[in-house]
Symmetry: C2
Subunit: 183 residues, 2 copies
């Protein structure tokens, strides 16, 4: 008889992930210690390792949680038309979860997290776009727009966070989507 999921399980994992996000806002990922995480999460040292192999796995899970949602908001934008609408949708979504995305995209871990995101989202996007003809060669059709969009989002959240959401969407639409649709 398979037993029910223990609430303590989920509670611990949430606490760990939240703690990492907090810490990422103020320091690079590779400077975050497991001890910092467990301290901030208010759990024991051993408990951490019962749930995660290392801190990298936590980051993976954190990123996946949020980027899965971001992908959902971004993928439609990669389609041929309505890309303006897609860009607006995406930017509004990011704005709504601004705190987390700021930590993920602009924190010290930025470089690697962004690369991971592009890589993982690219897989999904490439599979999803299998039916429609791509204008760019191979995986560049998804890697290029994803990289460009992520760069713009990171600039927005990190350097000019007061920029109106729809203005950023307009930038993305004109710099990324329009050129691709004209290629």
């Amino acid at each position: 008889m398979s037993r029910q999921p223990d609430p303590r399980n989920q509670r611990t994992r949430s606490a760990v992930k939240a703690a990492l996000v907090d810490l990422l806002a103020s320091q690079p990922f590779d400077q975050v210690l497991v001890r910092d995480i467990v301290a901030r999460a208010g759990i024991g040292n051993a408990t951490f390792f019962r749930h995660y192999r290392d801190k990298a796995q936590v980051l993976e899970e954190v990123a996946q949680d949020f980027f899965e949602q971001a992908s959902g908001a971004m993928l439609p934008a990669l389609g041929d038309r309505h890309s303006d609408l897609g860009a607006r949708h995406l930017c509004r979504f990011v704005d709504k979860h601004r705190v987390v995305y700021t930590a993920l995209l602009t924190g010290g871990a930025g470089g690697q997290i962004r690369a991971d995101f592009v890589e993982k989202t690219a897989e999904q996007a490439f599979a999803l776009a299998a039916d429609q003809p791509l204008r760019l060669p191979g995986r560049l059709a998804v890697i290029y727009p994803l990289s460009a969009i992520v760069a713009i989002l990171a600039w927005w959240l990190g350097e000019v966070p007061e920029t109106p959401t729809d203005e950023v969407a307009e930038l993305i639409a004109r710099l990324v989507f329009k050129p691709m649709s004209e290629y």
Copy 2:
């Protein structure tokens, strides 16, 4: 009396940097151990720390060595006109030093190295472009094209290395420079 530079100095530093580049081709930067580096470089452990604070500093120096040159090839391309020419120049330069750039841009360390490169080159580019009016707001004028170009180069070297050099240049010109000049 300032003494001449000791040949052993330069020899050690070169060996260390070459060793790191070798290792980066097959594993992520944060998985490379200082011990691996000294072993591959054929030097003693203490000698390493006499020259570098940590492995991050080695990476910095390696990246700077090569990216300084790449910047030189890339910066003119960020100017208003002759961008097609600039893109070709850049791609040919990267092609000439293909082995190193492949290790740097597509190795496991990719994400962070690329981010660092964009960040550092952006500073130079932003200073250099101070006189000419920028079409994009703030630092985005340099961050965006740099990120996009680096993404395309990484795709080229890592996934479709047989693509003709000038074809990649054409992609960059049409996807990145043209849209910016029209903005």
